[in-house]
Symmetry: C2
Subunit: 252 residues, 2 copies
Amino acid sequence: MTKADFRNISVVLVNTSHPGNIGASARAMNNMGLTNLVLVRPKEFPSGVAIGRAASAVALLDNARVVDSLTEAVADCGLVIGASARSRRIPWPLLTPAQCAEKALEAGTNRVALVFGREDTGLSNEELRLCHYHVRIPANPGYSSLNLAAAVMVICYELYKTATGVDKEGAGPAEREWDQELATGEDLERFYRHLESVLIAVDFHDPENPRQLMQRIRRLFGRIRIDVMEMSILRGMLSNIEQNLRKRDPMD
Amino acid sequence: MTKADFRNISVVLVNTSHPGNIGASARAMNNMGLTNLVLVRPKEFPSGVAIGRAASAVALLDNARVVDSLTEAVADCGLVIGASARSRRIPWPLLTPAQCAEKALEAGTNRVALVFGREDTGLSNEELRLCHYHVRIPANPGYSSLNLAAAVMVICYELYKTATGVDKEGAGPAEREWDQELATGEDLERFYRHLESVLIAVDFHDPENPRQLMQRIRRLFGRIRIDVMEMSILRGMLSNIEQNLRKRDPMD
């Protein structure tokens, strides 16, 4: 997995009312590898509540830059993207969170600001005009107002995902580094033959009137991607069933 | 955009300590169109703190099903996916949030449970074994512990995104329904010729020694997707510059 380097990317929170949201945003940032937090005129900061909600991301609060205006916050930025939940009178170039991540990463070493507005009213029209793009998190039209830290979480998550290419590579080691080899097709065929003979032996399966039993069994086991250890367990079960059938056969 | 229908999908929170996380999870669910919340032995519920953090999603708390065990919570589910931050001794089929969304939607009308563990210790190994798949949110290896409601937010967001196909369709109306028609290629060529003649007139541009000026200008304006209104503003500016150049010409 590629290492994510977000040193040039800042999260800017404008006029945040609840310090808990500042702390939770810092935690979300840190979870996704972002480190630069800028606060524009926060209502209450520093704050014990923020520290509590930041959990292990307290360093982000310690290093947060506090400024007086959004203009000041984005003065050194080559790309400014503002979160916007509402439709605006003047349409603005609007990105999905995934497109926002691409734009931010394309910016290379240029400074990038991801701007989030107030809990109740978001960013003002004037603040939105300072942004090159707006980003909107797709949401239930009946209730599209995300908690501030939840919105920061989603945007940072998309950024991390895009930077590390995790969706292309799959979920991680467990998927690729299974602790056992998978059973081969030949193993499976031997298993199906073995199983069929046992099912016949126990009168569960009549080859003269097979219905779709074996197809269904193939469809079932085929979905599992059986590994060699599991296969030897299954084969062992079948063998033991067979042995016990023979023992109990009155003709023996 | 497709309507998301998540009536068969539940979010199951196991043994949640902080009622604020229950409320914030309900809000995140509602934002993404999910309605079924199941609580396994919550430490404190009902709770005023949960109601406060749920904001407009209080109905989800009112309708939450409270049960005694995860087994009971998932008894009627055909697909159970558990959130897991840690690597397990026995690897389990592991999904990314996007893959989790696909699996959940593929389940059709079967009941699906998305299971989230305790704030401090997550799901126990026994609980994780009740899950058909595990889902891991990609995160900074140095600090991968997401807040519970933040994890619910990410998983529900991926679900909504996949169900509505929003990434394929773009960010929404503003991108497609710009308030003005875009300028055509022909408009742009006329503009470049106009601009070039003005730049020559003001001795900024020497066609005998062009360097790469016009290419750079094309690259610049080409990125903007200029609309017809903006184009007429630009052309008007150029015309006015020309008129004023003629007025001040001492040979007139």
